[in-house]
Subunit: 230 residues, 2 copies
Amino acid sequence: MPRKRALATPLTRQESKRRTRARLLEAARQMILAGDESRLSAKAVATRAGVGGATFYEHFRNLQDLLRPLADELFDDLREALRKRRREALAAPRNEERLREQFRTPLEILAASPGVFRLALRVRHNSVSALGESSRKLAGNTRGDLVGEFVDRGYPARTADERRRLEMIADIHIAATEALALGHLSGRYPDVDELVDMLVLVTRGTRLAREWRGAAGAPALRQDREASGS
Amino acid sequence: MPRKRALATPLTRQESKRRTRARLLEAARQMILAGDESRLSAKAVATRAGVGGATFYEHFRNLQDLLRPLADELFDDLREALRKRRREALAAPRNEERLREQFRTPLEILAASPGVFRLALRVRHNSVSALGESSRKLAGNTRGDLVGEFVDRGYPARTADERRRLEMIADIHIAATEALALGHLSGRYPDVDELVDMLVLVTRGTRLAREWRGAAGAPALRQDREASGS
DNA sequence: AACCTCACCGATACTACTCTCGGCGAAATC
DNA sequence: GATTTCGCCGAGAGTAGTATCGGTGAGGTT
């Protein structure tokens, strides 16, 4: 009873609605990735999608209602890509070349989707709009993913102090990677290998945190001084 | 011939206008630092400043016209604070404790002006609005300042490659400092000393870049491999 | 005192958006 | 084939901001 003919040109209502919705989402996605989401509006999305202004509201209650799932989708894709590659890298035998690979991958992924990457940076500190929320969720998840990885690699994470420290290391690595990826995108740092070099150097430093302290207070490092020559 | 009496209660026109302008600027400043500059508008600023809507346009051609000098002022203050303290630190004899001081200062300055700091992060990647432009100028200047410092400290900067490398190190340090400062502000990293520890560790790594290469190509580090334990 | 200047402002024309309403027409149902 | 459903849409009421204009009154000038 549901279907009679389904091979001909005329669309079913369900399919038709699905497509219109998809077109609205796609239009919004393009506009967002094209930069400047400030001039995003229900009207503009509808127009770009080639549908009437009122149709927008047949599919979404308002702009935020469209943005929430869209933002989740955009950022989840990015996170999944990053996560997947990291997991692969983790499974493989570890040596210096592997480590470089592990740093190169996120740089390449970020460089390969400059739209989403820039979007994430742009909206991260904006409290309003579902985009900001979703971007922060991505950042938090990425940090969590990284910390999990550190633990797998043998960094200590028994006490709250140790875990917080791992979060800091993760934050630093994320920030460094993002900063360098941004420089790469802006053309200042064309050579990705060179960026990897720098990230490896950073790791050389933060890796010291591993054998750093079992239970002592903070001053372990401060004791261990070394005058840096001019 | 200009002045006759200037001691009484009535304001001169000039003074009156100056004050109104200052009130507009102050209103805008507060609204911006209070977060959410998206709902900033000429009208809103005027209302908050307690003046009529038309008065705004007696002082500024439009909102951007007000934002430009305001943004410069906001960020220049921050930059000057950072720069000044860094210069002091640079002049002093260098040892490990000094280095820590040098890292603690920017963290404290950023933590002390969370409004401007968050503002800078928020608008940095927004191409529109004078705020974004000014924030990027701040970031670029800070990077330049840091590079200059590195050179003073003996990092090589003869070739374009070496200079670019210093820029990367500066970018990483800025990004790491900002990321940790943000974590501090959000309550995740309450102890500033601990943040300084982490920054010192990062330096341990990036410092390796100094004795790294005189004229060779990039692979110097890649050669120097070392299998990282589990 | 008479006159001029101008900082301020209410009113307003314009623009741009949000969301609803009534209805058209084709798919779905009988 | 007749009837119902519903995806779509043009029109429009409501809201909000921009920028201008003419006028008012107190500072400033003679």
